[in-house]
């Protein structure tokens, strides 16, 4: 007496075989989700009280980063401009624009604007803007083409692997200090060579290697020590 249909053989083989793929797929999916914008918010625009356009203010009007982010060179925290900074201009121009009402309201009432944090690191990570700026890491290296962001989003995943990618080889991202705030900076190439201290560079790597010396960066071992970022 036969309890199983003969197809069972095939089915059982298929199941065994399939299980392998299923499991590996699930694991793969978990890892991918972790890196996806769904988790990291990378390139995702966040709700803000005022639709402030970096594109307009930076590219359009050519305002320097430091006009608003005042403490970026001096402190770990780059600084979010107080309402006063906005009103410096907007008490003169666009004084009636309804889009700017929250700003004026804040200035009148003395109640702060409540923005949504865009580049938000976990609380156990201690990042310091001033030292990065000082060692020749450009704003848009991490923040991306801010001057082309009508609405602000964070450019990178801000995950540890992303930090390490640079900390393990800073040379590939360094630029001369005077170029740090240049949003349109392009690494030197044979077409657009770059001259620094009388030396001409045609590729980023050679430039980076020299800058590492020039700005005497700490060794890779130093800047990948845990306590560099975690305290």
């Amino acid at each position: 007496m036969q309890i199983f249909h003969r197809s069972t053989n095939t089915i059982s083989r298929a199941t065994l075989f399939g299980a392998v793929f299923l499991i590996s797929f699930v694991l793969w999916a978990c890892i991918e989700i972790q890196r996806s914008p769904y988790v990291t918010y990378a390139k995702v625009v966040r709700p803000q009280p005022v639709p402030f356009s970096h594109q307009h203010h930076v590219a359009g009007l050519g305002i320097d980063c430091r006009y608003c982010h005042t403490s970026v060179e001096a402190s770990s925290f780059a600084g979010i401009p107080p309402t006063k900074t906005c009103m410096n201009c907007h008490s003169q121009i666009w004084t009636g624009a309804w889009l700017l009402e929250p700003v004026r309201e804040s200035f009148r009432s003395g109640k702060s604007l409540v923005w949504t944090r865009v580049n938000d690191l976990p609380d156990f990570v201690y990042f310091d803007h001033s030292i990065h700026i000082n060692k020749g890491v450009g704003c848009n290296t991490c923040h991306g083409p801010v001057d082309r962001m009508p609405l602000m989003y964070n450019y990178a995943s801000l995950q540890m692997e992303w930090c390490l990618d640079c900390h393990r080889d800073p040379a590939k991202n360094l630029r001369p200090r005077d170029q740090v705030f240049n949003m349109r900076y392009e690494p030197p190439s044979t077409l657009k060579p770059l001259t620094l201290d009388g030396k001409q560079y045609t590729d980023q790597l050679s430039l980076g290697v020299d800058l590492v010396k020039k700005y005497n960066l700490r060794t890779v071992a130093d800047i990948t020590s845990c306590s560099t970022c975690h305290r």
């Binding site: 199983f4 053989n9 059982s12 890892i31 972790q34 995943s157 540890m160 692997e161």
Partner: protein, 457 residues
């Protein structure tokens, strides 16, 4: 295949009482699962065990909510019952693998009647053991950081740490044992499938039997696979507890940092393992009337193994004590003093008598073959081995290098609940196993019958 029970001096009792045929053996064993009604004894026993499992669940739930602080652990005693139990359970597992793998390779046919449930014991014991390393974590939900997997932190586990070695050792052990056990079950599952009355049973056993038809090809493939697995499992018997012992031997804590640990842990493991085998075998053969299959011969052999391994363990203690004195190291010699006279000296003396002095009565042949006596002795040995782990973990930690940081360890009710809980879990599993699967390997028993010998070339 030829088997060693021939040509052995007569006085040795047989591994299976005479007068059985293939049919009767099969009947006797499979009936336990298929035809016999559920006895009240089974119901009550299982009921109690199940309740204890519920206690375990409660204790674990509360642990996850509140944190390991509900246990007695503290600074300096960072490891308490959890690790004690872990080592104890893992140790118990070893006997099963030893019986089924090593004795198979050594052609010890007598193992055929006990290997099945010994393997089951292994698996359940490893399951119990496996819980603790997870539970004792401060942040158990991050356990997977101990596995090397591609992660967004680009950070591997720290391979120098014995705890990472544990992860590999124990998981390998669990997998291999499970496979070995299952493969061993296939022919019998087929038997059950064919003899099952109810449709459900037929289907379930059928699926598990994976289409076993007992054709010659099946058998030859089966033999090869089984031998291979046995070959795989054999080194594990030695390696797993060796790695576990590294958890301590790698540390610098006086009482941990000693080279004798690996052999002495393995011996201890088998010691406690066989004790557990007896604890299980004796009631089983009684209640299911399997005295003919699990004979005095088995009991005696197990007893002999215990006696031997027990002596190795004793040697371990002796060396520890000797080194404490001979090394002249102030911390080791204090450790020795502290074990003998310190706050936990009662535990240490209990350990010595339970593991060394008391078991010596096994030299008496009468006792080796007396089930009740063996049952009691095994119980004592299991307690002793648990105490040994307690002494190693707690007593070494509670007074180490800095006098100012000495402390005491008081297990809380949650410690006990978790420990007893795992005992319940283990028992519950055993009950289910006996009810649903053949507790003794049917086809391997057949090979012990005179009929089987005819086939041997």
């Amino acid at each position: 295949m030829d088997h060693p029970s021939q040509g052995i001096v007569p006085p040795q009792p047989p591994v299976i009482e005479p007068g059985y045929t293939f049919a009767t053996v099969t009947d006797k064993i499979s009936s336990i699962v298929l035809t016999r009604p559920v006895s009240n004894g089974w119901l009550i026993g299982f009921g109690i065990a199940f309740l204890i499992v519920m206690i375990l669940l409660y204790a674990v739930g509360y642990l996850f909510v509140r944190g390991v602080g509900i246990w007695g652990v503290n600074i300096p005693i960072g490891w308490g019952f959890a690790i004690v139990n872990f080592v104890w359970w893992i140790g118990i597992g070893h006997a099963g693998t030893l019986i089924s793998a090593i004795l198979l390779l050594l052609r010890q046919a007598w193992r055929n009647s006990i290997n099945r449930f010994a393997e089951a014991m292994t698996i359940f014991a490893v399951a119990c053991a496996g819980m603790f390393p997870l539970l004792h974590l401060g942040r158990p939900w991050l356990f997977y950081w101990l596995f090397p997997y591609p992660n967004t932190m680009q950070y591997w586990p720290q391979f120098r740490s014995p705890l990472v070695w544990d992860v590999f050792a124990v998981s390998t052990y669990a997998t291999t044992s499970l496979l070995f056990w299952f493969v061993g079950l296939i022919p019998d599952l087929a038997t059950l499938r064919d003899r099952a009355e109810s449709r459900v049973a037929q289907i379930v056993y059928g699926i598990l039997a994976m289409g076993w038809r007992g054709s010659a090809r099946h058998w030859s493939r089966y033999e090869t696979a089984y031998l291979l697995l046995a070959g795989l499992a054999t080194p594990l018997v030695l390696s797993v507890h060796t790695v576990v012992s590294f958890d301590f031997a790698i540390g610098i804590v006086p009482g941990w940092h000693t080279t004798i640990f690996p052999p002495y842990f393995v011996a201890g493991a088998i010691y406690s393992g066989f004790a557990m085998v007896l604890i299980l075998a004796i009631p089983i053969r009684k209640f299911y009337g399997l005295e003919d299959f699990i004979t005095e011969r088995h009991l005696e052999n197990s007893a002999k193994v215990m006696l031997a391994t027990g002596l190795i363990v004793a040697y371990g203690y002796a060396i520890e004590a000797f080194m404490g004195w001979y090394s002249g190291n102030r911390y080791d010699s204090f450790l020795l003093w502290n074990r003998l006279h310190g706050p936990y000296h009662a535990w240490y003396w209990a350990l010595l008598s339970a593991n060394i002095f008391f078991p010596q009565i096994l030299w008496i042949r009468k006792l080796r073959t007396n089930p009740l006596a063996l049952f009691l002795i095994s119980g004592v040995i299991l307690t002793g081995m648990w105490l040994e782990r307690f002494i190693i973990v707690v007593v070494s930690l509670h007074r180490d290098f800095l006098n100012s940081s000495w402390g005491m360890y008081y297990p809380t009710r949650w410690d006990w609940a978790t420990f007893i809980g795992t005992l319940g879990f283990f028992t519950a599993c055993m009950f289910l196993f006996l009810r649903l699967l053949p507790g003794i390997s049917i086809f391997e028993m057949r090979t012990l019958l005179p009929e089987a010998e005819v086939k041997s070339p």
